[in-house]
């Protein structure tokens, strides 16, 4: 279980919770471990853009609501710009 000290990981989850609720942590952990081939708590800023690309693809499979997806991606993009 990733520790709270990996704040970028938890920041991503906090944003994701607005869209996926209790499923957010499971979703993000799965994206990191499957596509970035690393432990979720090892997420760094360098990985963020690649992660965002995969999240966009996954969200497109879950919903046709483009506005929702763009809103989510913009919120995640702010983390990359910090």
């Amino acid at each position: 279980m990733p520790s709270r000290s990996s704040t970028l990981y938890y920041q991503v989850i906090d944003v994701t919770k607005r869209y996926l609720g209790p499923a957010a942590e499971r979703f993000i952990t799965r994206q990191i471990e499957t596509h970035l081939n690393k432990r979720a708590d090892k997420l760094t800023k360098k990985d963020l853009q690649q992660l965002l690309d995969w999240i966009r693809v996954a969200m497109a499979l879950l919903t046709d609501d483009r506005k929702l997806i763009e809103d989510y991606m913009n919120n995640l993009g702010e983390l990359a710009r910090k």
Binding site: K17, Y19, L20, P22, A23, R26, L62
Partner: protein, 308 residues
């Protein structure tokens, strides 16, 4: 492992369906009923097919709904919401199995009673009623517990709105009237027997009270699910949850309607055949809609867990 579990579940359903169809077609129809509706044995069997086919379709829908819900609950078992959804899925499983079990027990008890098997003449109705009560009570306890556990995630305590209390009061009074005002004191002209074949006090304590308690549990569960749906975060998550919570509410409603129908059985027996069939089909439709919504909601939520 999943396919093994699916095969076991559908094998169970298949066995119950086959037993029900075989007994329905092979067991002779009550001659009093044939006389009442002016039909022959063959016509009665053809008529029973028109009920049997949608009935079995509803059982399949119910099993499909429960299995998809259970699959979702298994996929999130390690999450905060996992245990709660597992309890809810178990409750819907009991209700899904209860549909064919109640139909079979009623069919067999009725047949044995008509065949003058003494034990079933006296106790057939009582046995089938108590089987139905136990199934409903167990199921609603699980559903209630699951819904309350979900509230822990929101960390909020829902206020009890007056409308829920009033709804329960209306339901209780209506059911008591249906049982005591109609079901017991007005024996059917055809059967010359009251619906529950028990003394009034025993009916009050062992039938009415358990059902009222069961529906109270169900009403609270439906309210808690609605509260959870409103207060949990996650736009996409809520979309799946909406179907699920609505489906569970409709299934709870269908159980209440089913019991009202049984309580009014003597009055329904006086209806024309066509009207009686409409009542049965409407009830089946409501049950089917409930489980279809559960399946749809569970599918949406499960996709969130599977997409990578």
């Amino acid at each position: 492992m999943k396919w093994l579990r699916l095969r076991k579940e559908f094998q169970g359903l298949l066995l119950l369906c086959v037993l029900y169809i075989v007994f329905s077609l092979l067991l002779p129809t009550d001659s009093a009923r044939l006389e009442k509706y002016g039909i022959t044995e063959q016509q009665a069997k053809l008529l029973s097919l028109t009920i049997m086919i949608p009935l079995v379709a509803i059982w399949v829908t119910a099993f499909n709904g429960y299995i998809r819900f259970k699959d979702y609950a298994i996929s999130i078992k390690k999450g905060d919401d996992g245990p709660a959804f597992n309890l809810l899925a178990t409750g819907t499983k009991i209700l899904a199995y209860g549909l064919p079990i109640n139909s079979l027990s009623g069919l067999l008890a009725n047949y044995l009673s008509v065949q003058n098997v003494t034990f079933f003449e006296k106790n057939g109705t009582i046995i089938t009623n108590y089987i139905a009560i136990i199934i409903a009570l167990l199921a609603f306890i699980y559903i209630n517990q699951g819904a309350r556990t979900l509230l822990n995630i929101t960390k909020k305590i829902p206020p009890m709105p007056e409308s829920t209390v009033v709804a329960f009061l209306i339901l209780s009074i209506s059911y008591c009237y249906a049982v005591f005002g109609r079901g017991i004191s007005l024996p059917s002209a055809t059967t010359n027997a009251s619906v529950y074949t028990l003394p009034t006090l025993v009916v009050a304590l062992s039938v009415v009270l358990p059902y009222l308690y069961t529906w109270y549990k169900g009403l609270i569960a439906a309210y808690c699910l609605r509260f959870y749906e409103h207060n949990v975060s996650g736009i996409l998550y809520k979309r799946g949850l909406r179907h699920l919570s609505l489906g569970i509410a409709v299934v709870i409603l269908s159980q209440v309607l089913l019991q009202f129908t049984i309580a009014l059985a003597n009055n329904l027996a006086d209806l024309k055949l066509k009207s009686l069939l409409i009542v049965i089909y409407l009830l089946l439709l409501i049950i089917g809609i409930g489980y279809a919504l559960i399946a749809r909601g569970a599918n949406k939520l499960r996709r969130i867990e599977e997409v990578s």
